[in-house]
Each structure stands twice: as C-alpha cells, then as structure tokens.
C-alpha cells in the first residue's frame, strides 16, 4: 500500500482540504476542480464529505488547522502548504494515524506524506530559460521576473534556470525582481527597469501573471515586444494572440486539486500510489495557444486556462513509476 495508509479506513471517506489562502482566483479555480471531483466520488459512494480550511496565508494557522483535521479524524488531507518546512511535523502525526496525505502545488520537505503531486519547478525554470535563449538566438540582455522571495516554488524555478543561463555567457542578466505572482507589481517593476535599460532582448518570467504585467509595461512605453516566457494566465494568452508575441508558457494545472482528491481515494482503497507524482509540464506554444484561447470563455478573466483532464489521465499519471 501507499505511504501512510494502514488499510483500516473504509468508504465513504471524509476529505479535508487544507488550503493556505482561498482568496486568489487560481485557488478558487483549483477549489472548483476539487469540488467537482468530490461530487463525482460522492456519486460513486466513495466520499461522504469535504471539509475546507483556509489559513489566510499564515503557515502557523495551517498547522493548527491540520491538527484539527487530525482531531476530527478525517480520512484524507489534501494540502497546499504555506511553507515548505512548517507543516512537516504535524503531517508526520497525521501520517502516523493512517490519514492519506496528498500534497500538491506548494510542497513540504518531508516524506511523511502519501504522495506529493507537482510539476517539476526546476524543470520549469530550465525549460523556460532554454526556450528563451533559443528564441533570442543565444545572446542578448534579459531581465528575470521571480515570484515572492522566501518561497520555495519561486526559488526552485529560479534555481532551475541558473545552470542554463550560466551555460550561455552571451546572455546578460540586467536585473531581477521579486514580486507577488501578480500583474500590477510586475508592470511597475518592469516599467522602471525599461527606463534604466535601453536594450532588453528577452524577459524570463517565472510564473503567475508576471508576464502580462511585463507586456503591459512594454506596450505602454511603446517599446518593441520581445520574446517572453510565462504561465497560462488568461490575460497573458489573450495578449499573446492580440500582439502576436513570440512566447512560451507552461502551467501549474488547477486540476492538480482534483487529481490529489482522486489519488487520495485511490490510496485509501489500497491502490499503490507513487511517493512523487511528477506532472509533465503542459507546454503552450505559438502552435497551440489558439486551442487554449478557444476555451477562454469558460474561465475567469483574471484566471488561468488549464489543460483538460479526466480520470483516464489521472490513472495514467498514477501508473507511472
């Protein structure tokens, strides 16, 4: 059986969804996929209840809420961690009680969970850097846009890009910034950088809605568009199309939530689940950006257009070794 699973828990299961912060649109979309999956599992008689907590961005509160889930004896905890270190010990306690723990998106540095589910952040950074350098013809000035400081996802993506950039001495990093994964701060930072740097040939943007902010900045200052990387934010994809950009994007699919739910139930039912389920990075390129935009109407204007998913895909992901 999978890690943490003792086999003494019988369906229908109670699922605990320990969210770190439920306000952002990405989280709301993710919660949507979880609720949909729970409804499907309820119909099959496998799940009885979903309990949701919101730590309001505070890792300490999240620990307390996970403790409450343990106290309430939920059967599974699906988790986006507020800190890569903080929940480790409380998760160990949960694991010891045979609770299935599915940790996705923001991961915890512990193996006391049933499974971790995520795209590979380092690979994300490396692929983005590789594409950008390619698109720039191997030389030129770039700026790097990072997510918030002190957070492992943002740090991992940057670390993944480092060796690729180092291997290309003709690529010069003018400067980098750390901002929340949002449009406005990125736009402000990039605009200021534009004035300080007359020659910018590429933008390595490592996630969230940073790219849309960067494009807004270029556009408003009347600067030429340059090759840019990014994530599947609807606004970015729409600009990509309308401004005919040379761009590349990947994504942290929102259906990771649904998948984590599905996988938790599978594990509770005794199926083997790999300790790390690596989600291949879906790549959006000039070739397929149209397909994504065709579905845009189904997603919020400030949301993320994620790739399609199905139980078939989930089974396939779980089957990988």
């Amino acid at each position: 059986a999978a890690n943490c699973i003792k086999g003494d828990r019988k369906p229908p299961y109670t699922i605990g969804w320990a969210n770190i912060y439920s306000v952002p649109t990405w989280m709301k979309e993710t919660q949507g996929t979880i609720e949909k999956e729970v409804d499907a599992l309820k119909a099959k008689g496998l799940v009885s209840k979903l309990v949701v907590t919101d730590a309001q961005g505070d890792a300490n509160t999240q620990i307390q809420q996970i403790q409450s889930m343990i106290d309430a004896n939920v059967d599974a905890i699906i988790l986006i961690a507020g800190s890569s270190s903080a929940p480790a010990r409380v998760l160990a306690a949960a694991c010891a009680k045979g609770i299935a723990i599915m940790n996705f998106d923001s991961l915890v540095d512990t193996d006391q969970v049933t499974a971790k589910i995520n795209t590979d952040s380092a690979q994300w950074g490396a692929q983005a850097a590789t594409w950008l350098i390619d698109a720039m013809g191997g030389k030129g000035n770039i700026i790097v846009l990072n997510g918030p400081a002190g957070v492992s996802v943002s740090d991992d993506r940057r670390k993944g890009a480092t060796p690729v950039l180092a291997a290309h001495p003709d690529i010069k990093i003018l400067t980098e910034t750390n901002t929340a994964y949002n449009v406005a701060p990125a736009q402000e930072a990039v605009t200021n950088l534009l004035f300080a740097n007359q020659q910018i040939d590429g933008i390595l943007s490592l996630g969230g809605a940073l790219s849309a902010g960067a494009i807004n900045a270029l556009d408003k200052e009347g600067r030429p568009m340059v090759p840019i990387t990014g994530e599947n934010a609807r606004q970015f994809l729409e600009m990509w199309k309308s401004k005919n950009l040379k761009a590349w994007a990947t994504m942290q699919p929102n259906w990771l939530g649904a998948f984590a739910t599905y996988a938790a139930v599978q594990a509770l039912q005794g199926k083997d689940v790999p300790a790390f389920v690596k989600i291949p990075l879906p790549v959006i390129s000039n070739a397929n950006v149209g397909e994504y935009l065709a579905k845009a109407g189904d997603f919020p204007a400030d949301g993320y257009i994620y790739s399609p998913y199905s139980d078939g895909l989930f089974d396939q992901l779980l089957a990988q070794k």
Binding site: E29, E188, E221
Partner: protein, 323 residues
C-alpha cells in the same frame, strides 16, 4: 485695542521653506537628481512622468489616509477597498453604459459606504480604528472569495481606461485627476470647518466633543471619504491595468501610511497636511523604483528599503513626544 499684526505674528517665508512639506519636496528633488546621475535613464521626462502616474494612485489612496490620520485614526482597509473597487467595476454589468461611467460611480458609492461602515463601527461601537478597519479588511476578503474569479467578463470601461492611459497634452490623465483631487483635499482640510474639526478630533477627542463638534458624524464622514478615495484609486488601478484581480490593492496600504508619514503628518493625529503627503507619495515610489533597479537579492532590497525609510524619518518625521 491691539493691532492685528501684533497679535498675529506673520508667517515668514523662511518658515514656509523650513516646513515639513518643503523638506519632503527637497528630498524628492535630491533623490531625482542623485538617481539621474547614477542611474542612466532615471531622470528622463518619460520616466519621471511614469513615477508621477504611480504616485497618483498612491496619492489618491493617501488623501483619505491623510484625513483619517489627521483626525487621529488610521485606515487599514484601504488596500482591500482598492481591490474590491478594481474587481467590482467590471462585475456591475447590469448598469449598461457605453461610457462606463455608471458602473464606476456605482462602485465609488459602494466604496464610500464601506468607509462609512468603518466610521460607524468606530464612532458608535467605539472600536479602535486599527481593529475596526482590520476587521473590515478581513470581512472584505470574505466578500472577495464570493466575487473573485466570478467570471469578470471585463467589458472594457471607457472612462477608466481613458483615465488610466490617456496623456492629453503630454500630461497623464491620472496625474491631472490627482491634481484636481489634491486641490479639493487641501481645500477641505485647511479651508473648511470640516477640516478644522478633523484637526480638533485628532488632537483631543474629548475636548472636541465637549466643544460641541459632532464627533460621530465627523468620524463617519472622514472614513467615508477614505473609502471613497480608495475606491477612486481602485477604479484608476483598473483603468491602468485593464483588469483587476485579488490582491491588486494590497501594496497600497503600507504605501499610503508611509507617504503620509514621510510627508510629515503626525501619525498621532492632529497635525499635518496633505501638501506633505503629495511629495511623500512621490518620494515613496521613487525609492521603490530605485531599489527595483538595483540588482540585489531580495534580502538586501528589504534592508535597503527599511534603512532608507528610517533615514528619511530622521529628517522628516521627528515627533515631539506628546500625549
């Protein structure tokens, strides 16, 4: 009996030059000149204009914050109100209006009401402003969960995107809006009995109330104004970004407080002027821009920012200890 000149010492021009607002203006000028030398591209007209555009939004939020601080309070909900406003405008689709004015006005009304609600809690329930506005921010987060990502089919709002992007005669529309709002704010604060009541309230609420000033109505009004200016800033943010999202207003909370303080307004209330907040806001965005341009790690950028604020405080924020 006695001549007016004897009883009213004339304000001398040296005193004006040495006043807090002028000090802040001088610091802005110094920062701009210094930065232009060390950072090519910084001192260009277009960049300075951009900094003014950024400052305009901070400055609008700071109008309410200045008035509230002068009245002895603080408004920790401005960030949340900016967000609510930026997200809310596209959502009021039922107010069909090709110019986009109706939805914008509607949201401004909502923002004003939110502010008034803050004032009600503070004046009637006597909850400390820090707690009331903090709780309001928490409450608005709950509201945002309900409406965020609520398929904001952003019908472009014509008025707001004009305000956010147009540059009639080379001067940004947002800066013009800020100028107009500043003039009104300065008039309100220094030329009306309402403004005088704010100073009275911030200096000594008990004496103010015993002097027959309606403390409750003044409190409610000043928080409503703060809600209004935060809402206005939110609408402008929407215009500049073409889209609102959750968290878009977060940075304006600390920015508004910092620019009020850098402008020499006493955080303890009763003393200050929006005339200082204006250069305060410009100074703040300038520092932020400078630090962004530095290629330093996040840790060092934080340390530098904190140290700069502390140093500027030593120049402008000295506060005679009082009670």
């Amino acid at each position: 009996m006695t001549s007016p000149t004897e009883r009213f010492a004339a304000a001398r021009w040296q005193a004006v030059l040495r006043s807090r607002p002028m000090l802040t203006v001088a610091m802005v000028a110094l920062a701009w000149i210094g930065a232009s030398f060390f950072q090519p591209g910084f001192g260009g007209w277009r960049h300075l204009r951009y900094l003014l555009e950024l400052a305009a939004i901070v400055g609008l939020v700071s109008i309410g914050q200045t008035l509230v601080v002068v009245a002895g309070g603080i408004d920790l909900s401005v960030g949340a109100i900016v967000t609510v406003s930026a997200i809310g405008v596209p959502l009021v689709t039922w107010l069909a209006d090709p110019t986009g004015t109706a939805p914008a006005l509607f949201i401004l009304l909502c923002a004003t009401l939110i502010g008034a609600l803050n004032g009600l809690g503070i004046a009637l329930l006597r909850v400390h402003p820090m707690i009331m506005t903090l709780a309001m921010a928490t409450f608005l987060q709950g509201v945002l969960i309900l409406i965020a990502g609520g398929s904001a089919i952003s019908a472009q709002n014509a008025v707001l995107s004009w305000l956010g992007n147009a540059r009639p005669g080379g001067i940004s529309a947002s800066v013009l809006l800020w100028l107009l709002a500043s003039a009104i704010a300065l008039w309100l604060l220094h030329k009306t009995p309402f403004g005088a009541r704010l100073f009275a309230l911030g200096t000594n609420p008990l004496a103010t109330s015993l002097s027959g000033i309606g403390v409750r109505s003044t409190t409610i009004a000043v928080y409503a104004i703060s809600g209004f200016t935060a809402g206005l800033a939110g609408a402008l943010v929407l215009g500049v970004n073409g889209q609102g999202y959750v968290g878009i207003g977060d940075s304006y909370l600390l920015a508004s407080i910092a620019s009020v303080v850098l402008g020499g307004t006493s955080i303890l209330g009763g003393r200050g002027t929006y005339a200082g907040t204006i250069p305060g806001a410009i100074l703040l965005v300038t520092i932020t821009a400078l630090i962004t341009m530095l290629n330093a790690s996040a840790g060092w950028r934080n340390i530098l920012f904190g140290t700069l604020i502390m140093a500027l405080l030593l120049l402008s924020g000295r506060e005679r200890q009082r009670r």
